[in-house]
C-alpha cells in the first residue's frame, strides 16, 4: 500500500483537517439538540487546529522552508484556550435556555420569530 510505505505529507493532514471541519459544519447545521451544535463548533475548531499544526512542521512539505514554525503551535494553543472559554459560555446559555423553556431543542427557540 502506497500510504503505508511512504511518509505522509502536508496533504494528508489537510485532508483530515478538512474532514473534521466539514463534519463540524454539517453538525452545526443539522443537529436539533443545542449541545449537538456545540459539538459541531468543537469539531470545526479542531479541524482548524490540525491545519495549523500541520503547517507548523517543516518536514511535511518538500517545496522549501515555508513553515509557520512556532507561530503555528502558538496559534493552535490559543485556539484551544479560546475554544474552552467559548464552550463554557455556550453551555451556560444552553443551560439557561433549558431552565427557562424545559427543552434543549433549538427548533423551539422561536420566541422572536416574526
Amino acid at each position: 500500500m502506497n500510504l503505508l510505505t511512504e511518509p505522509v505529507g502536508l496533504t494528508h493532514y489537510l485532508l483530515v483537517g478538512a474532514v473534521l471541519f466539514v463534519c463540524g459544519i454539517v453538525c452545526m447545521a443539522v443537529k436539533r439538540n443545542a449541545l449537538g451544535v456545540l459539538m459541531g463548533i468543537e469539531l470545526v475548531l479542531n479541524g482548524a487546529n490540525v491545519n495549523f499544526v500541520a503547517f507548523a512542521n517543516g518536514n511535511l512539505r518538500s517545496d522549501g522552508p515555508w513553515t509557520l514554525g512556532l507561530d503555528g503551535h502558538l496559534i493552535a494553543l490559543f485556539v484551544i484556550v479560546l475554544a474552552a472559554a467559548e464552550a463554557a459560555v455556550a453551555l451556560a446559555i444552553t443551560l439557561n435556555f433549558y431552565n427557562n423553556h424545559s427543552t434543549v431543542d433549538v427548533d423551539r427557540a422561536d420566541e422572536l420569530h416574526g
Partner: protein, 270 residues
C-alpha cells in the same frame, strides 16, 4: 511485505482514520450521549495526530484542556439535560439533504486545494546517506521503532539534539552528545551495509515546550537566526496575547458561572 512499513505513516493512518470516522459518527448519530462519546474519541485521536506532527506540547494541551476540560464540561451539560425525550432528537430528511450538499461542496473545495499542490504530497525521497555511502536508489523511508502504544513524540534519541536546543535548561549535555556521536560513528561503520536507507521524518523538532514557554514570556528563541531587522519586527513575543487571553478566561468564566447559576425554574414561556 517487500518494503518496510513507515511506522509514522501507519500511525498517521490509524489516528487520522479514527478521528475522521468518529467525527462522521458524531454527525450521523442522534443519541446525544453517544455523540459526546464519539467526540471524545475523535478529539483524542486528533491529539495523537498533533504528537505525530511534532507538536508534543500542543498535543498534551489538547488532551489536558480540550479533552480533559472542555469535553468534560460538555459531557456534564449532556448529563444535566439528557432526560427522556431529549436524548434522541431526529432531524428531518430535507435538512439532511441540504446539509449534505453544502458539506460536500465545501469538502470538495478544500480537498481539491489540498491535493492539487504537488509539493505538499510528501517530503522528497530519497535522501542519500553520504556518510555511509549508500546508493541513492534506495526507496521507502526507514522504519522507525515499533510502538503499539499510543503517541510517538520523540522518535529520535533526544540527546543528540543538544546543539540546537537554545537555552539548554536540562543541564549541559555537550559531553553526552559527543559520546552519542562517537557511538553513532562506530555503529555506522558496522551497520551501514545492512540497514535500509532512506529519509525519515525528522522528529527532532518535537522539543517545543521550551520554545513555547520562552515565546509566551518574551524572547522568541526559535527565530534567532533571522538576518536583518525587518523580519525581527514581525517576530514579536506572545506575551500580550497571553495576558489578554488570561483576562479573557477570567471574564468568561465569571460570566458563565453567573449565567448558569441556579435560579427558580420558571414554567415554559414565562
Amino acid at each position: 511485505m517487500n518494503d518496510p512499513i513507515n511506522w509514522q505513516s501507519f500511525y498517521f493512518l490509524l489516528f487520522g482514520l479514527v478521528a475522521c470516522v468518529f467525527a462522521l459518527a458524531v454527525v450521523l448519530s442522534s443519541n446525544i450521549v453517544r455523540m459526546a462519546f464519539y467526540l471524545i474519541l475523535s478529539l483524542g485521536s486528533t491529539a495523537g495526530l498533533f504528537f505525530l506532527a511534532g507538536a508534543d506540547f500542543v498535543g498534551s494541551m489538547q488532551l489536558l484542556i480540550y479533552v480533559g476540560g472542555t469535553l468534560v464540561l460538555l459531557v456534564f451539560g449532556v448529563m444535566l439535560t439528557a432526560q427522556g425525550p431529549f436524548v434522541s432528537l431526529k432531524t428531518r430528511g430535507g435538512e439532511w439533504i441540504l446539509a449534505a450538499i453544502v458539506g460536500g461542496a465545501l469538502f470538495a473545495v478544500l480537498a481539491q486545494r489540498a491535493v492539487s499542490i504537488r509539493d505538499w504530497r510528501g517530503p522528497e525521497m530519497p535522501v542519500t546517506i553520504a556518510a555511509a555511502g549508500e546508493a541513492p536508489a534506495e526507496e521507502a523511508a526507514k522504519p522507525d521503532a515499533a510502538k503499539p502504544d499510543a503517541a510517538k513524540p520523540d522518535a529520535a534519541k533526544p540527546d543528540d539534539t543538544v546543539e540546537s536546543e537554545p537555552f539548554d535548561p536540562d543541564g549541559t549535555r555537550a559531553d553526552e552528545a559527543r559520546a552519542e556521536e562517537a557511538r553513532a560513528n562506530k555503529a555506522a561503520e558496522t551497520t551501514a551495509s545492512t540497514h535500509p536507507a532512506g529519509r525519515h521524518v525528522d522528529m527532532r523538532d518535537t522539543r517545543t515546550a521550551t520554545s513555547i514557554g520562552m515565546a509566551l514570556s518574551g524572547p522568541r528563541v526559535d527565530s534567532l537566526g533571522e538576518p536583518g531587522a525587518a523580519p525581527r519586527a514581525g517576530m514579536s513575543s506572545y506575551l500580550l496575547p497571553f495576558e489578554i487571553v488570561s483576562v479573557h478566561l477570567l471574564v468568561v468564566l465569571i460570566g458563565a458561572a453567573y449565567l448558569a447559576r441556579t435560579k427558580k425554574r420558571l414554567k415554559a414561556d414565562a
